[in-house]
């Protein structure tokens, strides 16, 4: 393929340009966030004297540190539940051929399609009756259930592509199903677990409607809620908002950079099936 080198470099130039156009909205997000209040230049021109005070103001004004801790707690606990339950269920669905497992898979797939509006009111009533409003637990239960179908879906597709030889060998050696799962199967699913982690984290981190509904009336806040309750109806201060938004997105971006090869691998595994 070496004779096509000039073509490759042409492609390279085109793609880099396309990439720049693609991230230009994000460039503007940053550029506006570091613009001082009295800088009247447009959003496109690079800021000459960047200020980081908007970040500081957003951090203290919106109580972001506290909110990050709350959100991270919700994410971590939900992920533990999700990974545990979804990997078990996904494994069972991928390996069993009984009517029950097929029915379970169909039920999970249905969950990918249900609009959230349908369950909102009854669910809220149940949450309140159980005393889970305004607490981290209410959110954890909600996300664990809401994101279960997609997580199961990812696991099923991935496990279907995995060879069964190792499991069979382990069981012939006398291992029970539980220890087979945890010692043999689970470690082999590292890639798809990475995908489950990153996609669900993005979902939970960015969700706005649920925490707004379940946490209002208490003093617990997640990132999106505290950012948006900081921005009033009559006072939208773009540099400040954008500063807060960037701060709120940084942890996710870092996580993605760390896990990005897993994401591709996780999907790749599932797609071979």
């Amino acid at each position: 393929m070496n004779r096509y080198r000039w073509r490759t470099s042409l492609l390279e130039v085109v793609m880099v340009l396309a990439g720049l156009v693609f991230v230009s909205p994000i460039y503007i997000l940053f550029n506006v966030a570091v613009k001082p209040r009295d800088d009247q230049t447009g959003p496109l021109r690079p800021t000459v004297h960047p200020t980081f005070s908007n970040f500081g103001d957003a951090l203290t004004g919106a109580h972001l540190v506290n909110a990050v801790v709350n959100t991270a707690t919700v994410v971590v606990v939900s992920l533990i539940v999700l990974i545990g339950a979804a990997s078990l269920a996904g494994y069972a669905i991928a390996r069993l051929t009984s009517t029950w497992s097929k029915a379970a898979y169909l039920a999970f797939l249905l969950g990918l399609l249900l609009p959230f509006q349908l369950a909102t009111v009854p669910l809220y009533q149940a949450m309140r009756a159980a005393g889970l409003l305004g607490s981290v637990w209410g959110l954890v239960i909600f996300y664990s259930a809401q994101l279960m179908p997609f997580s199961v879906f990812l696991y099923v597709n991935f496990i279907r592509a995995l060879p069964t030889g190792f499991e069979e060998a382990a069981q012939i050696d006398g291992a029970g199903p539980v220890s087979t799962f945890f010692r043999i199967v689970f470690p082999m699913m590292r890639a798809v677990t990475g995908t489950v982690v990153i996609l669900n984290t993005i979902n939970i981190w960015n969700d706005f409607f649920t925490p707004r509904l379940y946490l209002s009336g208490g003093d617990l806040q997640t990132i999106t809620v505290s950012l948006y309750s900081y921005v009033g109806q009559y006072g939208s201060d773009w540099p400040l908002i954008f500063g807060g938004l960037i701060l709120a997105s940084i942890p996710i971006l870092v996580l993605f950079l760390i896990l990005q090869r897993y994401v591709i691998k996780g999907f790749a595994g599932g797609l071979k099936g």
């Binding site: 009533q125 159980a130 239960i141 209002s216 003093d219 109806q233």
Partner: protein, 417 residues
């Protein structure tokens, strides 16, 4: 940790399958109350809550702030399930939205506040929006004017005068345009802004003629298409055709309507008092003058619209009504509500008191209130939320040339049930 979660889940499943006992168990000790309020009032309430704690050692007020839109969508869901904060956000009115006083009172969510000391002092003109079935269910807080904020320096700089008649409004627009300025900054992309100009015209054209027009509407004795509302919407369109407004206002968001006024590229903006703080912040060198928008050629006939913003109510299911009431009474004290109004800027206490100093911007407004040339925001007297929505969508369509004023009013009338 897992055990607690499991227990919660089990309890949860049980509850869903019908073994629910509806005894609320919101954690409330006797000296803590929760409070759900609008973000627009955050600074002002935070200060008062601080004072309340100083005055009542040992008590805690847990306040959560959200945009008014969000409160409208979340608070009813909470109340529906028997939950909600102890002190609630209540909007004045007869059913204009999901948190309006009559809607909540009718559903039995609010405590009757008629016997509170401040309730008897509510001006008669506001009773129609704070009372339901002759009982008071909300503390109205502050009165927010709706009129045109003029950038005084910019108006003078353009060699123009603030219009006092409808004919002058149209010539003001022409002259401003000749000077390369926008007369009235307008953005219709955030729907709540679309209705402001009609709301500024209606007090003179509709409610000065018939203060009970809204009651007549509900009783079926008046309709939108066959009333002075036709003139209201027509004049809005006339202003658009006279190039009074920002170009292509449909695509302009609320955020982008204020800077042109602060910078003097636009001479004025029709807005509610709540935006004054924001306008001032954007350019402290400018002084503003709030004036009613003239709608006829008789300057003495001009009236202004003003309504309480989001007020306070007490949750009927509150476990701690005594403290919730004490908090509302505290906010209602003259010194406290005056401090609250001053922090916000652009508003006056809804229950007037002599100790309040009116800022120069609101001088005309205050005179009109004293002269009773004031009426509430029209939608506060409408029977349901759909009418207002039809109005908002209709105006956007009117500016797109897809609907005539008559059609907009017919769409609104269709929602009156």
């Amino acid at each position: 940790m897992n055990r607690r979660l499991l227990a919660a889940l089990t309890g949860f499943a049980l509850l869903l399958t019908g073994c629910s006992n509806s005894s609320g168990s919101d954690n409330s000790s006797s000296n803590t109350i929760t409070f759900y309020a609008s973000t627009d009032y955050k600074d002002a309430y935070d200060a008062l809550i601080n004072d309340f704690r100083t005055a009542n050692p040992g008590v805690t007020v847990n306040a959560t702030y959200a945009k008014t839109d969000d409160i409208q969508s979340t608070q009813p869901t909470q109340l529906q399930s028997g939950g909600g904060a102890d002190v609630l956000s209540v909007q004045p009115g007869q059913g204009g939205n999901t948190i309006s006083e009559a809607t909540l009172a009718k559903a039995g969510y609010l405590v009757d506040l008629s016997d509170r000391a401040w309730a008897s002092k509510i001006p008669a003109s506001l009773k129609s929006v704070t009372d339901y079935d002759n009982k008071t269910y909300m503390f109205p807080g502050v009165l927010q004017p709706l009129g045109a904020f003029y950038n005084t320096q910019a108006v003078q700089g353009a060699g123009l005068k603030i219009p006092t008649t409808w004919a002058q409004v149209l010539s003001f627009c022409r002259d401003a345009q000749a000077k390369g300025k926008v007369a009235f900054s307008l953005g219709l992309s955030d729907t709540w802004v679309t209705q402001l100009v009609p709301y500024a015209l209606a007090p003179t054209l509709v409610y000065a003629q018939n203060p009970n027009w809204n009651a007549d509407l509900t009783a079926g004795k008046a309709t939108f298409p066959d009333s002075a509302w036709k003139t209201v919407e027509q004049q809005y369109l006339d202003m658009k055709n006279a190039n009074c407004f920002t170009n292509d206002p449909n695509g302009v968001s609320f955020d982008n309507t204020l800077p042109p006024v602060a910078k003097g590229q636009a001479l004025a903006i029709v807005q509610v008092g709540g935006v004054f703080g924001n306008l001032q912040q954007q350019n402290t060198a400018v002084t503003y003058d709030l004036q009613p928008l003239p709608a006829t050629d008789d300057p003495n006939a001009t009236a202004i619209a003003a309504s309480p913003g989001v007020g306070l109510g007490v949750n009927a299911k509150s476990k701690n009504k005594e403290l919730a009431l004490r908090f509302v009474d505290f906010v209602a004290q003259d010194t406290n509500i005056n401090k609250f109004a001053t922090t916000l800027g652009g508003v006056v206490p809804a229950i007037p008191n002599s100790a309040f100093t009116v800022s120069p911007v609101l001088k005309t407004f205050n005179e009109l209130v004293t002269a009773s040339k004031v009426s509430a925001f029209p939608d506060t007297g409408w029977p349901n939320a759909r009418i207002q929505n039809a109005h908002l969508v209709g105006i956007q369509n009117m500016f797109l040339g897809k609907k005539t004023p008559a059609q907009v009013l017919q769409d609104m009338q269709a929602q009156v049930k």
